[in-house]
Point group: C2
Chain length 293, copies 2
């Protein structure tokens, strides 16, 4: 049985460590000893229609041992710096599943020969330190950033309840998710609405479209219309979900706005393109973070 490390005990960490422990020898690394102890005793509870309980190994990240065949890093982008010493030192293949593009900047600093990227299409909401609500079923798309695809093969043959799908072009894959995040997250956070409202409300839909035009100016998307269709489909499939950015504002005030919109603003500055809407949205979310914190 292959050894797999899952780093981070947030909603995605619990979800991945839980499901993957059915087939792998999983060790979940949590930020705190308290969370590790709680999961040792009570297991990970994944709540969907029914409740599933999993018992992977679990340790605090402070006692990290570099021994898994693959490590999945589930922390949010703004949390990565706290575990950089561990990431820099490890030789294990690493799979990063952060939103946005900001984490790409640090990949060059890693010694690991095999580095993979993934995008997550699941809806997940952490209810407490050992419970996660699997709110929306989706796929995990994975791609090679550097190294050998073979290290991903056992994930790719994993069961259909929690599927992994291979993508050839990591940049296309990340950009596709980035556009969804830019169009859905800040607007739902600003208007405090579920994803589906963006489709149903013609004024909000109009703003989503205006935002896409600005994003396209900067990122030069290959096919704007099919990109927009894809965003609308995601909104429809997740219509009752509250986006992670809306949840983050309501819970703790820190969002992924820098990884998502911040990245496009940097690109725009580099290319000397004006982005009034993206700048306005960025400042709006940063301002609301400040207000809610």
């Amino acid at each position: 049985m292959e050894k797999l490390d899952v780093i981070g005990g947030g909603s995605l960490g619990l979800l991945y460590a839980g499901y993957l422990s059915e087939q792998w020898d999983v060790t979940l690394y949590t930020k705190t000893e308290e969370q590790a102890n709680a999961i040792k005793q009570k297991g990970i509870l994944v709540y969907k229609e029914a409740s599933l309980r999993f018992f992977p190994k679990v340790k605090p990240i402070s006692s990290y041992v570099d021994k898994g065949h693959l490590a999945i890093v589930t922390l949010k982008e703004y949390q990565l710096s706290s575990i950089m010493p561990i990431l820099k030192a490890t030789c294990r293949p690493l799979l990063f599943i952060q939103n946005g593009m900001n984490h790409l900047k640090m990949l060059d600093k890693l010694t690991a020969e095999n580095v993979f990227l993934g995008v997550v299409e699941h809806g997940a909401l952490r209810l407490n330190e050992n419970t996660v609500h699997h709110k929306g079923e989706g796929k995990t798309k994975v791609s090679v950033w550097r190294g050998e695809k073979t290290f991903l093969s056992s994930l790719l043959t994993y069961n259909k309840q929690f599927p992994f799908v291979y993508e050839d072009d990591w940049k296309e894959m990340l950009l596709g998710k980035l556009v969804i995040n830019i169009l859905v997250n800040p607007l739902t956070a600003l208007y405090k609405v579920e994803n589906g409202v963006l489709l149903e409300n013609p004024y909000f839909l109009q703003n989503m479209r205006a935002l896409l035009n600005e994003v396209h100016n900067v990122l030069e998307l290959k096919d704007v219309e099919s990109t927009f269709k894809n965003v609308l489909t995601i909104c429809k499939n997740t219509k009752d979900n509250r986006s992670s950015m809306l949840q983050d504002l309501q819970n703790k005030g820190i969002t992924e706005i820098d990884a998502i919109v911040g990245y496009v603003l940097e690109e725009a500055e580099r290319k000397k393109i004006e982005t009034p809407l993206l700048s306005f949205l960025y400042a709006s979310i940063k301002g609301l973070e400040k207000g809610e914190s």
Copy 2:
């Protein structure tokens, strides 16, 4: 004692009919017979530090008699069409104190020879059909749109507790108020914050500034810096107030966004100037209206 009509029983109607009945023979015209009866029995209650009670005459607008020396029209811009038959027919001098610039379009249709404009700097919140909370003390600025200034003279000598001040240039006067309304109202409504937060939060302040630049492109303000300073002063003086647009969204869903931002968007279209932020804000507030209604 001069006869004065106050048309409309909203927060401003109650405030003006109340205070002015100390010196004038005021008749307040309300939308409903119920409100007229309630005020006949209980009077108008103006709540400031202490409560003041006034007993002007009061009638439902359906029994309007064209007899006052001056009529002050206190309805919101989007309510004016409902009383256009009365306004069109009257020969009395009329004073309009609506926000925005949209009501200017209908002034040409009036037969009255003396038409005046005003802007209100009071904070007022209607608590029930006969009670208004006078939340912020300010002035009423008045100017001549057409006709003779003399019809305003007794207002201009009115007491210092509720002062009227004459302005030579009605357009400057309205534009000054318009800019304040554009910068403060939609942003406070969007972020759901009191006016003062726009000053304290550097991100919101940045967006207010970006918005001013767009407004200036369209309206060609004479002095942008002093305009901005003026807006900041108003924000400071009314820091604990919730703007009328925020209140409107929270109460009934209809706002003055058309009279305020809609006017600038029409001007921009006429002048072929792009206004991404104003368009985004307009659609945001229209979308939120739809959501809250």
